[in-house]
C-alpha cells in the first residue's frame, strides 16, 4: 500500500535508514513529498532535484573543449567536465554523450568518464525526480517501453533521456506519461496497455 507523505511526517517510530528520510530523536521522518511504502521501507520522491552521486549515468551535450577534456551541458547548474581517453576521437560541440560521474570536486564540478557518443536520435528532458520511476524496479519500465516501441533509450539520472529508432514518437509519449503519472498506482500496467493499444493500430 502506497501512501503520499509530506516533509516532516513520521514514517517509523524507530530509526530506519532510508533514502529521502532523516532520523531525529530515534524516529524516521520524510524530507520530501513522496510515495511511502511501509512494508518495503521505501520513499519515492514526487518532486525534486537531482543530487549527483558517483557512478550516476548522465546524458548531456558537448559544449566545448579539446585534448580529451570537455565541458558538458547536463542541464544542471554545476559545471561538468568530461575527461576522455588519450587515444579516442576528439568530440565536437553539439555531440550528445552518455557518461558516468567519476568524482564531484569541491562540490562544484562534476568529473565525468566512461563516455559513449550517442549519435542521431532525440533528447527529452524530464524532472530528475521522475527518473527512478522511468527506470522502474530492475529496469522494468524502461525495458518495457524500449521493447514495445523498438526504440533504443538511454536515461540519464540528470533527467535527460536519449531515444533513437523504432517508434520514437510513441516512446516519447510513454516517457511523458510516466513523468506526469509517476505518483499513481499500477503505472507499469497502464503504460503497457497504452503502448499495446497504440502499436496494434
Amino acid at each position: 500500500m502506497r501512501e503520499l507523505v509530506t516533509p516532516g511526517e513520521l514514517l517509523f517510530e524507530r530509526p530506519v535508514r532510508m533514502e529521502y528520510t532523516f532520523i531525529d530523536n530515534n524516529r524516521t521522518y520524510a524530507k520530501v513529498v513522496g510515495l511511502f511504502e511501509k512494508e518495503r521501507a521505501t520513499l519515492i520522491p514526487l518532486e525534486g532535484i537531482w543530487t549527483p552521486r558517483i557512478d550516476d549515468t548522465v546524458v548531456g551535450t558537448v559544449v566545448k573543449g579539446r585534448n580529451s577534456v570537455y565541458e558538458i551541458d547536463l542541464s544542471y547548474f554545476k559545471r561538468s567536465i568530461l575527461i576522455g581517453g588519450m587515444h579516442e576521437t576528439e568530440l565536437t560541440p553539439g555531440q550528445v554523450i552518455q557518461a558516468q560521474i567519476k568524482d564531484i570536486e569541491d562540490y562544484r564540478t562534476l568529473i565525468l568518464f566512461r563516455h559513449r557518443v550517442l549519435s542521431g536520435g532525440v533528447l527529452i528532458e524530464i524532472k530528475p525526480a521522475k527518473v527512478p520511476r522511468l527506470i522502474g524496479r530492475n529496469n522494468t519500465m524502461v525495458n518495457q517501453i524500449s521493447e514495445l516501441t523498438g526504440t533504443t533509450m538511454v536515461v540519464g539520472m540528470n533527467g535527460v533521456v536519449w531515444l533513437r529508432g523504432g517508434d520514437v514518437g510513441l516512446a516519447t509519449e510513454a516517457v511523458l506519461k510516466v513523468e506526469t503519472e509517476a505518483h499513481m498506482q499500477g503505472l507499469t500496467e497502464r503504460v503497457r496497455e497504452m503502448l499495446q493499444q497504440e502499436t496494434k493500430r
Binding site: 509530506t6 524530507k31 513529498v33
Partner: protein, 243 residues
C-alpha cells in the same frame, strides 16, 4: 497602530466584525504547484489576503563570492504589490518593512531546509503579496513552506505561521487589517510543528507574560488546521492524473 480617534467597533455582541470567535482563523485555501517555471510554488488565499510563493533552486550562487562551500545560501524576497492595499498606492519593490520581513523569513527557512545537502548553491524564495488584509507575513511563510515542499528540496518540517493580537483587551487569532490597525498588540509566530519549535516571533503593543503564554497556545491550536491544509494542498496537487 492607527490613531484611536476613528476607532470602529471591533467587537459586536461579543463577536468580531466578521462574526468570528476569538480563536477562529479566517477562511484559508492553499494550492500547491501552480507556477510551471518555478521549481516549487504555492498560492494562498487567507481571508482577503492573496499570496503567491515560488522557490527556485538549487542554482548557481549570485554573486559568486557569497557562496558557502558547506551549505546552500537562501535568498528571500517578501514584497507587497503596489495595488495590494485598499486606498493607497504602494511603491514597487521592498520597503524597509519588507526588507525586515524578508530577513526574518529567510531565517525561518534556513532552519528547516537541509542546507548542507546543497553546498555551493543558492535557493531563492519569493513571496509576493498580491492583495493584503493583515497577517501577510504569516500567509507568506505558510505559502512558501508549501512551495518548498513542492520543489522537492529536502526539508525537516513544514512551517506554518499565524499571528495573535489583542482587541478590546481580548486575545484574538489572525487579525485582519482593520483589527490590526486598532489592536493593542499583535504577535506573529512561525512554528515547526514536529517539535513545536518557534522559528519566528515578533510582537508589538502590550502583552503580559501570561498573555504571551496564552497567545502561543492559540497559535499551536490553530496550527493544527493550517498544517492540515498545507499537507492537503500537496496531496491534492497529485490527485489528478494529468498535472
Amino acid at each position: 497602530m492607527a490613531s484611536k480617534a476613528n476607532k470602529p467597533a471591533l467587537l459586536i455582541d461579543g463577536k468580531r466584525r466578521d462574526g468570528r470567535g476569538f480563536g477562529d482563523l479566517r477562511p484559508l485555501n492553499i494550492e500547491a504547484g501552480i507556477l510551471k517555471n518555478a521549481d516549487g510554488s504555492a498560492y494562498v488565499e487567507w481571508g482577503n489576503n492573496k499570496v503567491l510563493a515560488a522557490v527556485y533552486g538549487p542554482r548557481e550562487v549570485q554573486p559568486r563570492h557569497t557562496a558557502d562551500p558547506l551549505r546552500a545560501v537562501i535568498k528571500c524576497r517578501y514584497a507587497m504589490a503596489p495595488f495590494s492595499s485598499i486606498g493607497e498606492h504602494g511603491r514597487t519593490g521592498p520597503n524597509r518593512r519588507a526588507i525586515e520581513i524578508s530577513k526574518v523569513t529567510r531565517e525561518v527557512f534556513e532552519n528547516v531546509v537541509m542546507l548542507s545537502e546543497f553546498p555551493n548553491s543558492q535557493i531563492n524564495i519569493f513571496i509576493e503579496i498580491l492583495q493584503s488584509d493583515g497577517g501577510t507575513r504569516a500567509a507568506g511563510i505558510t505559502a512558501a513552506s508549501v512551495a518548498l515542499a513542492d520543489s522537492g528540496l529536502y526539508i525537516r518540517d513544514m512551517v506554518y505561521s499565524v499571528s495573535v493580537g489583542k482587541i478590546d483587551g481580548k486575545l484574538a487569532l489572525d487579525l485582519d487589517m482593520i483589527e490590526d490597525n486598532y489592536s493593542e498588540a499583535d504577535m506573529p509566530v512561525a512554528i515547526a510543528p514536529r517539535n513545536n519549535e518557534i522559528l519566528l516571533l515578533q510582537m508589538d503593543g502590550n502583552y503580559s507574560r501570561e498573555e504571551i503564554d496564552r497567545a502561543i497556545d492559540m497559535v499551536l491550536e490553530a496550527g493544527k488546521t493550517i498544517s492540515a491544509k498545507q499537507r492537503e494542498a500537496l496531496r491534492s496537487s497529485y490527485s489528478g492524473a494529468s498535472r
